[in-house]
């Protein structure tokens, strides 16, 4: 459970940092009159805050699953499964999608609408290719005889990649809607915000994937062993 406690400690640090800017030590009973906020010019759009909170929830979900992975790993029946090299290709595709969306966001802010539309299509294609690639990786593994129920390592592999894939699928639905809007309507502030949010979501899912990848490859447990040695 140390992974999830660490994750929550990070969330708690963000909350404390935010609360520190909210004058929680003020004496509201003495302060009658206008109160106004002087933090910044424009307040953050609610959708952006909403996405931030949602990503915290998704982060909690994955860190809990990873905690379970580490706890289950210690039992004697654990047999790590060989990672198909194809996953490297998938990682590349997902990274490309993330870069494409970042580029789209920058182009949209520069009012280069045509370039942004192309970028959206590229990201959409990358997302679909990633999902297809993941399914292909599943096929390689099951073809090689590594089935879901044979070994806990296999079970975790299929479950975690499945959960991640479902999140990518959800992101693709949102991205598809944004792309359709971008082709049918002129760019406005709302659309640019949507593109930015898609980009943030994609970067986050990329990070989650990299962590999962490190986990399956065994690097994550190497890192943890190293930290343990430092501590003891």
């Amino acid at each position: 459970m140390s992974v999830v406690v660490l994750f929550l400690a990070t969330v708690a640090a963000v909350i404390v940092w935010w609360l520190a800017g909210q004058r929680v030590t003020s004496r509201p009973w003495l302060e009658v009159g206008h109160a106004h906020d002087r933090r910044s010019g424009a307040p953050m759009p609610p959708a952006k805050v909403g996405l931030g909170v949602f990503l915290a929830v998704v982060g909690a979900l994955f860190s809990l699953a990873i905690s379970a992975y580490f706890m289950r790993m210690t039992s004697s029946d654990w047999g790590a499964l060989p990672l198909p090299g194809f996953l490297w290709v998938n990682t590349g595709i997902l990274t490309a999608g993330s870069i494409a969306l970042h580029w789209t966001k920058v182009e949209a802010e520069r009012r280069h609408d045509e370039a942004a539309r192309t970028g959206l299509l590229a990201a959409l294609a990358a997302g679909l290719a990633f999902l297809a690639g993941q399914l292909f990786a599943w096929r390689i593994l099951s073809g090689a005889g590594y089935l879901l129920a044979d070994n806990p390592a296999n079970s975790f592999f299929y479950m975690l990649t499945g959960m991640h894939g479902l999140h990518i699928l959800g992101g693709l639905l949102a991205l598809g809607r944004v792309t359709a809007r971008a082709w049918n309507t002129p760019f406005d502030r709302r659309l640019r915000l949507s593109i930015e949010l898609c980009a943030v979501y994609w970067h986050f899912m990329l990070i989650v994937w990299l962590v999962l990848f490190a986990l399956f490859a065994g690097w994550a447990s190497d890192v943890i062993d190293f930290c343990r040695q430092l501590l003891t």
Partner: protein, 592 residues
């Protein structure tokens, strides 16, 4: 970086939050059924939660009939008894309390209390309710599935939850239960995002965080906790579904069932317990924190006095929320653990008592020399304080490893958690309904029926749960279908059990009076007017009662003061609404 200036005559600063474009319903269906208005969604949530809660109430009757008069009722066999226990616990904790506090009161009160027109994502809010309803329907479906609902206990511990010895283990029961929880969590996340972001971004001008009523603080903090804790239950449910349906071994150890070696092996039941209680303990406070917040507002309003130590109350809510994430293993003392872990979790558990005690002292000090009106909301609020202290004190016993281990499997624990997270929050729910019903419907609830309801419920709850502590202390185990010929069970226990069962029937029946009152007062209640309790918070200052779609008419309210300006010296009335700039003849600064 919030700047408060007291110059009342100054020009109004420009709005920081743009007025939102509201969704406009076009037909009866989109107005009342597939509504995106938080107030309608709140009523839908509350109605569904109370309806499913009544099912759980009847289940508790059936359990008590068996415990009080063992063997008298043929339809209650051992399997049915375990199914009743499981569904009673699960429904009460998740589908009633969580849904009613966050989905019901959260939806109704957050936008009104922070001065917003609606939640920030109304469409997701609507989806949240319909997904919750789907979860409830899946849950109800398990009663009619072959094999009946699961009887695994509300904690659903594997491996027994998915084995044939447990009702529903090899049938549909456990599958429907896990699916229902997964659906519930998806729906809740949609709603929870709304509650959090509305508090963060939807507040009206002048409503700084430290001017929010404690109700909003309580619901807000509980929602943040729920968003971070429910994923643990989600992961646990998904993994157990894999074990049950796809033959994996996340939680299932090598096990022989009916002389047959199962294909599972190596899984860790303790892993499930960690995941479950990582959700399960914050869940206690997810239910308690909204209750803390609401009760603070009820006490302050009905004692006509500002809440004592507002800042401390806010800090205590946040600290309790944080601490509750690092105490989960105190539910697992009997599962065995490293003594150092036990020591750690016992310490953190006892530390939570500090901010909680601060809150109790502050409630009592708010009452001290207040102008106490013994209205129905106040009666229920007082009942909450007493009950919560009672349940909290036994919690101090059980938080210690050495005391918990012998008591853990007895009725003492049942009495403890019913006092602290059953009766206490339910008291607040009743108080809150009596308090806000006039705003929701425009009419007061009937006072006489309310008094009957209160006294029967309050005295009855104590008649049920006080003797249960004793029953537990003499060693009667919980979760047992019948006591049989246990030599150590005193005769007094049997007569007490019968007494408890009769009281449970009476208290349950008293809730029918309450439901009747809710319906009857809709038409025949006394007209309430906009602000019958003469309260300061924004929801009582709406131009119309009940508030229409959009809440505030043309102009959003502007907030000039905190939520607790009661009995301000020199003010013409004993309350000053939050949106009133001038206190009257003497300014507040001069008085203080």
């Amino acid at each position: 970086m919030v700047d408060v200036r007291s110059g009342i005559g100054e020009a109004l600063p420009p709005p920081e939050v743009e007025d939102v474009e509201l969704y406009h319903p076009h037909s009866w269906w989109t107005r009342y059924v597939f509504s995106q208005d938080a107030k309608i969604i709140a009523i839908q949530y509350a109605t569904t939660a109370i309806a499913i809660g009544m099912v759980a109430l009847v289940l508790s009757w059936l359990m008590r009939l068996q415990l009080g008069f063992p063997g008298t009722f043929q339809l209650i066999d051992a399997e049915a008894y375990y199914q009743f226990i499981t569904m009673h616990g699960m429904i009460m904790v998740i589908y009633l309390l969580t849904a009613l506090f966050l989905g019901g009161f959260g939806n109704y009160l957050i936008p009104l209390m922070v001065g917003a027109r609606d939640m920030v994502f109304p469409y997701a809010n609507m989806l949240s309710y319909w997904i919750y309803l789907l979860a409830v329907l899946v849950l109800v479906a398990s009663f009619f599935a072959p094999g009946g609902p699961t009887g695994a206990g509300w904690t659903l511990y594997p491996p027994q939850a998915v084995l044939s010895g447990t009702p529903g283990g090899k049938d549909w029961g456990i599958i429907l239960m896990l699916s229902s929880l997964i659906i519930f969590i998806i729906g809740f996340t949609m709603g929870g995002l709304n509650y959090v972001v509305t508090v963060l971004q939807g507040r009206t001008r002048g409503m700084t965080l430290m001017r929010m009523p404690l109700t909003v603080w309580g619901i807000f903090t509980a929602t943040v906790m729920a968003l971070l804790a429910f994923p643990a239950l989600f992961v646990a449910c998904v993994m157990m579904l894999f074990d049950r349906l796809l033959g994996t071994s996340f939680f299932m150890p090598a096990i022989v069932e009916m002389g047959e070696q199962l294909q599972h092996g190596g899984g860790s039941p303790i892993l499930f317990q960690h995941l479950f209680w990582f959700f399960g303990h914050p869940e206690v406070y997810i239910v308690a924190l909204p209750a803390f917040g609401i009760v603070s507002d009820l006490i302050s309003t009905h004692a006509r006095k500002n809440i004592f130590g507002y800042r401390m109350m806010v800090w205590a809510i946040v600290i309790i929320g944080g601490l509750s994430f690092i105490v989960w293993a105190h539910h697992m003392y009997v599962s065995g653990m490293n003594p150092y872990f036990g020591f750690f979790f016992a310490t953190t558990t006892l530390i939570i008592a500090v901010p909680t005690a601060i809150k109790v002292y502050n409630w009592v000090l708010t009452l001290w020399r207040g102008n106490i009106h013994l209205t129905l909301p106040m009666l229920f609020a007082l009942a909450f304080i007493v009950t919560f202290v009672n349940g909290g004190l036994t919690g101090l016993f059980l938080g210690n490893v050495v005391v918990d281990v012998p008591l853990s499997d007895t009725m003492f624990v049942v009495a403890h958690f019913h006092m602290v997270m059953g009766v206490a929050p339910i008291m607040v729910i009743f108080g809150a309904i009596y308090h806000w019903y006039p705003k929701i419907t425009g009419r007061m609830l009937n006072e006489v029926l309310g008094q009957i309801h209160f006294w029967v419920t309050f005295i009855g709850a104590y008649a049920i749960f006080f003797p249960m502590h004793y029953v537990g202390l003499v060693g009667v185990p919980r979760r047992y279908y019948e006591l049989g010929e246990m030599a150590f069970v005193a005769d007094s226990v049997h007569s007490l059990n019968a007494f408890i069962s009769v009281m449970a029937l009476i208290v349950g029946a008293a809730q029918i009076v309450f439901l009747f009152n809710l319906v009857w007062s809709l038409r025949h209640g006394r007209e309430a007017g906009g602000n019958p309790w003469r309260a300061t918070t924004l929801e009582w200052q709406t131009p119309e009662t009940p508030p229409p779609h959009g809440n505030w008419g043309k102009e959003l309210p502007v907030v000039y003061r905190w939520a607790y300006d009661y009995s301000v010296p020199g003010a013409p009335e004993d309350f000053i609404p939050q949106n009133q700039p001038s206190p009257g003849r003497v300014s507040h600064e001069a008085a203080s």
